[in-house]
């Protein structure tokens, strides 16, 4: 019975629906096929683990923001706005 589900999904298809799976947008039936497939397919389990590792590593990248000088300028501009509006 479960064979129907597992033989149904090929590895080549799994690597294309993995994002939908991780996003939770995969229809219930495909989700079950995906879960059943990785139970019996070590290479696809490895692939899923690698995708998780990719997301973890990407999430660790440091980000560049605006320069501290630019940030100070903006806060000064806000102060000036406040001063001029209270004068009115």
């Amino acid at each position: 019975m479960t064979d129907d589900i597992t033989t149904d999904l090929a590895c080549k298809e799994l690597v294309e629906i993995i994002t939908d799976y991780l996003e939770g947008t995969l229809p219930e039936r495909d989700r079950a096929r995906f879960d059943a497939h990785i139970l019996t397919c070590p290479p696809c389990r490895e692939y899923v683990a690698e995708m998780h590792a990719t997301l973890r590593l990407t999430g660790r990248l440091t980000v560049e923001s605006i320069s501290p000088g630019a940030r100070d300028d903006l806060l000064r501009a806000l102060r000036r706005m406040k001063a001029s509006s209270t004068e009115l």
């Binding site: 080549k12 690597v15 692939y47 683990a49 990248l61 440091t62 980000v63 923001s65 605006i66 903006l74």
Partner: protein
């Protein structure tokens, strides 16, 4: 996630504080959103320095426009709209606009994995199953030289992505934005967002796979030559 962009104040509170000229509230908003807004600006203009100017102009527009903000949309959506308007105008002026059609993905073929790595459809037992399966990655612990090298590879892989994929992957996976925010900011459908995310993530994984495989081959080659030398 590296930097979640969560602004805790409810919108109504935040707007009231900004209207009052509350510096701390404004500083929090700048700190939470400047980095992802820079990335978003790069969806429209080519150079990082122009992107920074676009973000600064956006914040100035917030300072001068908060009094007119009617609160019909969320502060976030309002920010996205200001930024995209400024960025588009700027891109037109520079005539270096990025064709927005890049974000309109075609659903044609861009396989996540090289098709040659799978058995043919005609295979009697395992059609479309792995012929060359992925090998486990051996990552160095955080903070080590190997880990720093890996992070440099990840950064490079992200920057090398086609622009639309790069912006979507960065906003989702580096800045931790939810899908709905990315769709709203770029004005693209959820389906488009998912395709760009899928293609971008798959490419980054493929780059990392090549890197880890090469490192493993190199280590093996070194240990074989070490053994040989030891045996001589």
């Amino acid at each position: 996630m590296g930097s979640q962009t969560i602004v805790r104040d409810s919108d109504a509170e935040l707007i009231a504080l900004l209207r009052d000229g509350d510096e701390a509230a404004f500083a929090r908003l700048i700190d939470a959103y400047s980095a992802p807004l820079l990335r978003l600006a790069l969806a429209f203009v080519q150079s990082p320095s122009i992107a920074e100017e676009v973000v600064q102009e956006t914040w100035m527009a917030v300072v001068t426009g908060i009094g007119r903000f009617e609160g019909r949309s969320s502060v976030k959506t309002w920010l996205f709209k200001i930024l995209t308007n400024i960025a588009k105008t700027r891109a037109q002026r520079e005539r270096r606009t990025i064709p927005f059609s890049e974000f309109e993905v075609d659903y044609g073929d861009e396989p996540a994995v090289d098709p040659d790595r799978f058995l043919p459809a005609s295979h009697p037992q395992w059609p479309h199953h792995w012929a060359t399966p992925p090998q486990p990655w051996s990552m160095g612990p955080e903070g080590t030289a190997l880990d720093r090298e890996t992070m440099a590879v990840v950064r490079r892989a992200l920057e090398d992505l086609p622009r639309a994929q790069q912006v979507v992957v960065a906003l989702r996976d580096v800045h931790g934005w939810p899908a709905a925010d990315v769709c709203a900011a770029l004005d693209i459908s959820e389906a488009n967002q998912r395709v760009l995310l899928h293609r971008g993530r798959s490419r980054v994984r493929a780059v990392l796979e090549r890197y880890f495989n090469d490192t493993a081959t190199l280590c093996n080659a070194e240990s074989i030559s070490d053994t040989k030398q030891a045996g001589q």
